[in-house]
Amino acid sequence: MTATPETAADPRDRRQTEFEDNDQKPIGFGRMLRKEDPRLIRGRGRFVDDVQLPGMLHLAILRAPVAHARIISVDTSAAEAHPKVRLVVTGAMLQEKGLAWMPTLSNDVQSVLATDKVRFQGQEVAFVVAEDRYSARDALELIDVEYEELTPVVDARRALDPSMPVIRDDLEGKTDNHIFDWETGDAAATEAAFAKADVVVTEDIVYPRVHPAPMETHAAVADFDRVEEKLTLWSTSQAPHAHRTLYAIVAGLPEHKIRVIAPDIGGGFGGKVPIYPGYVCAIVGSILLGVPVKWAEDRAENLTSGSFARDYIMRGEIAATKDGKILAIRTNVLADHGAFNGQAAPTKYPVGFFGVFTGSYDIEAAYAKVTAVYTNKAPGGVAYACSFRITEAVHLVERLVTSLALEMGIDQAEIRLRNFIRPEQFPYETKTGWVYDSGNYEETMRESMRIAGYEELLAEREEKRARGELMGIGVSFFTEAVGAGPRRKMDILGLGMADGCELRIHPTGKAVVRLSVKTQGQGHETTFAQIVSEEIGIPPADIEVVHGDTDNTPFGLGTYGSRSTPVSGAAAALVARKVRDKAQIIASGMLEVSVDDLEWEKGSFHVKGDPSASVTIQDIAMRAHGAGDLPDGLEGGLEAQICYNPENLTYPNGAYICVVDVDKGTGEVKVRRFIAVDDCGTRINPMIIEGQIHGGLVDGIGMALMEIIEFDEWGNCLGGSFMDYLIPTALECPDWETGFTVTPSPHHPIGAKGVGESATVGSPPAIVNAVVDALYPLGIRNVDMPMTPSRVWDAIQGHPRPPI
């Protein structure tokens, strides 16, 4: 295949070289079309709601209409009398079975169905199982719930006021809405650094509540076989193995009698990491009725009841010398976690990886304190393509660095170049204890400036400013920490963050590789075939990738926090090397030489110094399974399994430049150009990497300009449909300009770092920095996201207002 005319003609884009490289490289890494596409472009993918089983019934959930209320009574008699209704279940009924509450990802508990109170609008109160999806919905209208309304806690800033009602009175001894205080860094050293600084800049920065809003909502089909006593659950899960173990613990079902299947998933973005009450309801429904039960939520349910992200109210301070050398960064954060602490992060990391808020800079000291509170909102804190709160951390530091640059009259790129961690400083331990593996930040920054034509852009901005036009240039540079574990430090509810991989080579030299991670669109079936191909020399087309089925894949923690390639990708490479080692022993027998006399050339072993004496991996596979003797002590077959425990996180990074034009009369922000240069280490499939970057950039546009889940003073969710929760269309997005540098991870077997969330993390501050840069001549120092026309217009008029 050749490049399309559009791409080949674009000199700003380095994809072209990769096309050419790949033409000569049919095995292993390089641009390759996706193995999952042939079914998806024919409409023959299989998503959860596509699953139809004989005798299957439909489940619908009754949700709380108010944010905070005591349940006085629930009358289900009319619903039960509906001719097509087969089951109605309330919280009280679940309580009798010990199933009314379930653990969240942060060791809090969450109601499956409310028993005592409802704690957010949209909370699950009862469910109905009926013969079809419309009848199930009809029957919800027939359930009569009497509520005694309570004062809702909506403003996180007031959650700790003694006058506020206690939301979580279900927790024994709980007398306030406090969840935790967490701190990192050295407060005294940071204070000392601030004391000697020439310049200190302070910003109040709000990262509002947003929603992953994948195009496919959450859904499940539970099928409990009463004879086998086995539960099969199709669900929209990014982490099927972790879910299976949790179901075993919560529901008391033996783990070997649970099979979780995550089929094709219509986007996840972190939102499909948690277990939602709807999944548990479907399981309960199927167990009670003995037939398959489907639950598929609608968009309003998705937006109001599940998987919020962010909601960090941050005060940041940055201290520097008069030369623009950054000395220290300090922040105080108020985190709104909603009614149940659903934070998705490793157990020992209650604020996720927010500790990387020191960014990409070599500084003297840093300190952060985070206070988390309950409010009457849906459970918050799941990742929305954020690598466990790194989005918030990067936004804070990159806003502060640009504020400092603007305050000091230093160019935004220049101030970063002055303060970057230098290549020779890696591995670099930050002042908050994170060990960055590798990077060449200056090279990456300069590549971004080259693609952007940075000097010309600066000149253009000056010309426009002189004419009174509002053009802005925003720079951000991010470093992420992705690929959790290692398991000694990182677990989710006690499950160590490692991933298994199994590889079998069939007699004819075709292969099957089984993963514990699960694609939601990232293209694992392609990327992992390429990783194995690179190591074992079998063409990717001959390698089947199996994933998303706990009965047929090894255990592992799943796909989120950009961990698939850093963890499972390493597992795939290492399991292939293990198979190759065995293949080498078999080859030595076939060629009648010692193992040490063999040389590997992608796909075959040959005798050193005699390339003609060679056997292919396919020959070896047949020998491994065929007639005839194998070398002494060797078992037949050609397969292996491993469980990979990463030594450290990997640290992808990138330099982003955004160009905006702001309409002075309307406040409308137009992102005219966006340049993203990423360094994710070794690049497996450049096409897929570019796709991941593009997807993150559109997230960035969304969060920076449009997306917010707001609440009114009664706790009513104001973002409950796509008419209120705005997501970018093709019209809001520029044609993305991408580039890359390659600094492999030194501890990853193939040097890859993970890329799934890079652009979501890195792009919002670039966009905000660009808008602030545009408005700076008007005396404006900060505009909070989402930078809607009305909020920008207010800022231009001198009345900036935070979104919450």
Binding site: P38, M215, R299, G695, G696, W736
Partner: protein, 167 residues
């Protein structure tokens, strides 16, 4: 009620509830699950199909309203076992990731190219602006549709079987 329509060239007749939405009729009654359900408010467009040669959002139309009409879904894009250039374009240019919005995007793209065989980038963006993709950032969708426009009549088609091979 009895509803009869032509779906992808075949006449179908079914007894349905009058309130059945077209999207549910296609998916649940006929088993054509390539058309998806995304938002209920006509914002996302993952449910786009053609009714009498025009793209419509099938979550906002009753199946009964399609009675006597001709419906075309993603399953009807392929002709005689040969992929539509739009389908090939989406594969070639990485115009899809999770694949959930893809059927609707392709139905709109096919309609656009039928009416404007050589659309500009701006015209393509306008045409798909009633639909949401959460994965791709749209640039590759634009490229995919452009690819289809430039390969509309080519007969030397890379067969779909080789799509999984390195190129």
């Amino acid at each position: 009620m009895q509803v009869t329509m032509t779906v992808n060239g075949t006449e179908v007749s079914r007894d349905i509830e009058p309130r059945t939405l077209l999207v549910h009729f296609l998916r649940d009654t006929l088993g054509l699950t390539g058309t998806h359900w995304g938002c209920d408010t006509s914002n996302c467009g993952v449910c786009v199909v053609w009714v009498d040669e025009r793209p419509v959002k099938s979550c906002t139309m009753l199946a009964a309203m399609a009675g006597g009409k001709s419906v075309r879904t993603v399953e009807g894009l392929e002709r005689d076992g040969e992929l539509d250039p739009v389908q090939r374009g989406f594969m070639e240019c990485h115009g899809l990731q999770c694949g959930y919005c893809t059927p609707g995007m392709m139905m709109t793209a096919r309609w656009l190219l039928d009416h404007n065989p050589d659309p500009t980038e701006g015209e393509i963006r306008e045409a798909i602006s009633g639909q949401i993709c959460r994965c791709t950032g749209y640039s590759t969708i634009v490229r995919s549709i452009r690819w289809a426009a430039t390969h509309e009549n080519s007969s030397s088609i890379e067969s779909p079987e080789t799509a999984g091979s390195p190129s």
